[in-house]
Amino acid sequence: MGNKQTIFTAQQLDAYQDCTYFTRKEILRLFYRYRDLAPQLVPLDYTNHPDVKLPYELIGSMPELKDNPFRQRIAEVFSEDGEGNMTLDDFLDMFSVLSEMAPRDLKAYYAFKIYDFNNDDFICKSDLEKTLNKLTRNELTEDEVRMVCEKVIDEADLDNDGRLSLEDFQHMIVRAPDFLSTFHIRI
């Protein structure tokens, strides 16, 4: 496969290949997807590391993400500034972790961060309530939401501090039979 592309240097492509789960072809394809979101902002030449950030609105309108109730959290978790505005690095990182080849532990780590709405490294009851409301589009009553959150904390909280730490979450999710198949985005 010849190096006919002029977007990245060979070292850059190598570095991306090492840091993500994508092959060279896929990285280039993802770059074109990134560029298609805003062709006027994204240059065709990344060899001099331009500092380009796409705003969250463009990312959130991608067909792979627009129906996902957690798209804002996903963008926030993977973006450098925590606001959802993503550079190409963040973009590649996001789809790499969400691809089929990422291992379970890595996905569990990022899933934890996605569900941790207030970014305090713990999934507390309010995080759970927000997750539940996003999942059911606010169609459950408050009582029902409360009961479900209690049950979750009861099931998964191992060290009994009333919230889920990363270890609790990983311990629980590692045995979930369909976590790998649901927590993945095809692009």
Partner: protein, 683 residues
């Protein structure tokens, strides 16, 4: 020491853990300096290491590592071993880590680096091969669409169907290799049976007589042939083929059964994580369609509502008064008696049908009547199997069980119905075949063949002549009384899976007498896939109550295993010389003609082996070996059971320890904060 309210290490109740903001007490806990320095908190923040890494690339590896080494030794050791992409940090961090590793390994020789690149290339090639192979798996796109529109339960039905197709393909390969191949190759009286005779007709395909009777579909076709070595002859190969099919099916089914259940069995109900899985793994991130997303939201909501309903149901059940309980149990006993009588009636019907069909006077009728008479038992069995499960479903709705219990109770009764009807049918066929029939095995194979074909036809026609018209009626006359009575059609997963399992059981039971039954199985399964897909996509609406698959899967796999057992029992029953059938042991057709039985053939092979092997085999099959074997198995099982119990106790102790150390930590942090505050106050 300051007076503290005693730390309560019972699980927090809902009143204590209020809405989003944490209580002031806890806020103080999380904002203390020492909290940030705790090793467990440091370990869960690897992106702090990112900054350390990018600094190190400027400074060089060693000193920075030592600086932060004390506090975060744990994750650092882990991160230095793993491949870069598995590190939970952003790309900048990974690039920094890569630079750091490069500095570490710049004195690795050429050989090592070449080997590393080779192994990464091999990993990439393997991934690509896996990707290509998974692209070859049939119907992936269809299954994805079905899952998007109807949920995971319906998709699992189709996945199970595909699995059965693979199983039948394996059977076909084995039969081709062991039975059909050598038989055709070493045949002495070449193609004489396969010529069309005058008495053949198109009906033979449905009845299994005439041309089909003589062809390789049935047992009678296979002869001794010219392959006549002591340990490699057609009868032995035939036996080997059938036994390998049964054995492999057993292994595959057991493996499939245990794959998902290890954890549930090991940990028991207390640690089931159902609701957590529903919330954290509930949303399918691959959904890209707004209607599919809306459906998924609906599914999740209904699933959670079902869970809450079950909670309230168990609460209600626990609060039943004695009078209510007595009345409920009486009702259940009455309903079970009704079920038993229905089952008895069904069995009598089958007996009647078998007797009618096997009577000798059937030959003088018009061809349609004789066709119907021949198919009378399969028709009855299929009719009974279609109607009674729905009646059972209605009955179980009166018994005041929770929803999953209802489904399982219906399933248990239906499984019993299907297996028992099949068993009774087999029994009657065995005992009422005439004494002087030319080839009993062919007759038996014929019955299984008819059963298979009729099952397939019933599925096919029921969709096109019942489900589809019903849907048309619903659409064109939605207010008519007919449409209102029948209601919207739903794809009932348990009954459909049960049908699949039943047809697979028939295939297993009949494979000895009709070796091409797996081929028929594959064809019918493939057509069933498309027919059911049509049924689901065009005629059904998504089921509102989610089918909780896990507990019912146990029942389905149990039925598969029972089917295998029934197959083995049929073979044993047929081959073991019974007192009453002493005279008719010699069969006049098939590979075991000429006074041979299974035992003589295997005996002949064993005798031809060298003498040490003979003595070993004789020892292995004697009773003197069976008894120590059973004892050893019992001892092994007991050790496993006690190990499991010890593991469970260890898990309980560890969980308690975890709770205790967590409360210790909280207590100590609070103490430390209080003491700091006091010290600052004094200064």
């Amino acid at each position: 020491m300051e007076a503290h309210e005693s730390v309560d290490f019972k699980r927090l109740m809902s009143e204590e853990s209020t809405v989003s903001t944490l209580s002031s007490d806890s806020c103080e806990y999380y904002q203390t300096e020492i909290f940030d320095l705790l090793p467990s908190i440091q370990a869960s923040r690897p992106e702090q290491n990112r900054h350390d890494f990018s600094e190190e690339t400027n400074q060089g590896g060693r000193e920075a590592r030592e600086k932060s080494g004390q506090l975060s030794r744990g994750p650092r050791d882990k991160t230095s071993m793993q491949p870069l992409r598995n590190l939970p940090m952003c790309i900048q961090g990974k690039k920094g880590a890569k630079e750091r590793r490069k500095l570490e390994i710049n004195d690795i020789n050429f050989w090592e680096s070449w080997r590393k690149t080779q192994s990464t290339n091999r990993k990439r090639v393997r991934e690509q091969i896996k990707e290509a192979l998974s692209g070859l798996v049939p119907w992936r796109q269809t299954l994805r669409t079905i899952e998007g529109k109807f949920g995971v339960g319906v998709k699992s039905y189709f996945v199970f169907l595909r699995y059965l197709i693979y199983l039948n393909l394996l059977h076909c390969v084995l039969i081709g290799g062991f039975i059909v191949g050598p038989s055709i190759f070493y045949r002495t009286d070449e193609y004489e049976p396969l010529m069309f005779k005058d008495s053949d007709s198109a009906l033979d395909f449905f009845l299994g007589t005439g041309y089909v009777n003589r062809s390789l579909v049935f047992y009678g076709f296979y002869t001794q042939g010219s392959l006549d070595l002591k340990c490699l002859n057609i009868p032995l190969l035939y036996l080997a083929g059938i036994f390998s099919i049964i054995f492999l099916s057993l292994i595959l089914v057991v493996r499939r059964t245990t794959v998902g259940y290890k954890h549930t069995w090991m940990l028991g109900k207390r640690y089931s994580m159902n609701v957590s899985y529903k919330i954290f793994c509930g949303w399918d991130f691959t959904i890209q369609d707004p209607t599919a997303a809306a459906l998924k939201h609906g599914f999740i909501r209904n699933d959670l509502k079902l869970f809450l309903e079950e909670q309230s149901f168990s609460l209600r059940a626990a609060q039943r008064t004695l009078g209510e309980k007595v009345r409920l149990y009486l009702l259940r006993i009455v309903l079970n008696l009704i079920t038993l009588s229905l089952l008895g009636g069904a069995f009598y019907l089958i007996y009647f049908a078998t007797q009618t069909s096997l009577k000798k006077e059937n030959s003088g009728h018009h061809w349609l009547v004789s066709l119907l008479l021949q198919y009378f038992p399969p028709i009855t069995i299929t009719f009974v199997n279609l109607v009674l499960p729905h009646i059972f479903r209605k009955i179980s709705s009166f018994e005041d069980y929770s929803f999953t219990m209802q489904v399982n109770a219906t399933l248990l009764r239906s499984i019993f119905l299907k297996l028992a009807s099949l068993g009774i049918y087999l029994f009657f066929v065995f005992t009422t075949t005439e004494q002087d029939a030319k080839c009993k095995e062919n007759q038996f194979g014929r019955e299984m063949y008819k059963l298979s074909i009729f099952n397939f036809l019933a599925t096919f026609f029921s969709v096109f002549f019942f489900n589809y018209p019903r849907k048309l009626v619903q659409e064109t006359y939605p207010r008519s009384s007919l449409a209102r009575i029948s209601g919207k059609q739903r794809f009932l997963i348990p009954f459909n899976v049960l049908d699949l399992v039943y047809s697979q059981t028939v295939s297993w039971v009949g494979v000895y007498y009709c070796p091409l039954l797996p081929v028929i199985g594959i064809v019918s399964l493939v057509v069933t896939f498309y027919v059911k897909k049509f049924n689901v996509m065009r005629c059904c609406v998504p089921e509102q109550r989610m089918f909780r698959g896990s507990s019912s899967s146990v029942l389905f796999h149990f039925m598969l295993l029972l089917g295998l057992f029934m197959c083995a029992a049929t073979l044993g029953f047929n081959h073991y010389p019974l007192q009453s059938t002493e005279g008719r042991n010699a069969s006049s057709c098939g590979p075991f003609r000429n006074e041979q039985t299974m035992f003589t053939v295997t005996g002949g092979c064993v005798k031809s082996l060298p003498s040490p092997a003979q003595t070993t085999i004789r020892y292995l099959t004697s009773e003197a070996f069976a008894l120590p074997l059973i004892l050893a198995e019992i001892i092994l099982l007991t050790s496993y059971v006690s190990r499991r119990r010890a593991n469970q106790r260890a898990i309980e102790r560890l969980k308690d320890m975890l709770v205790m150390s967590s409360s210790d930590k909280r207590f100590l942090v609070k103490q430390h904060a209080t003491m700091l505050r006091q010290r600052n106050k004094h200064h």
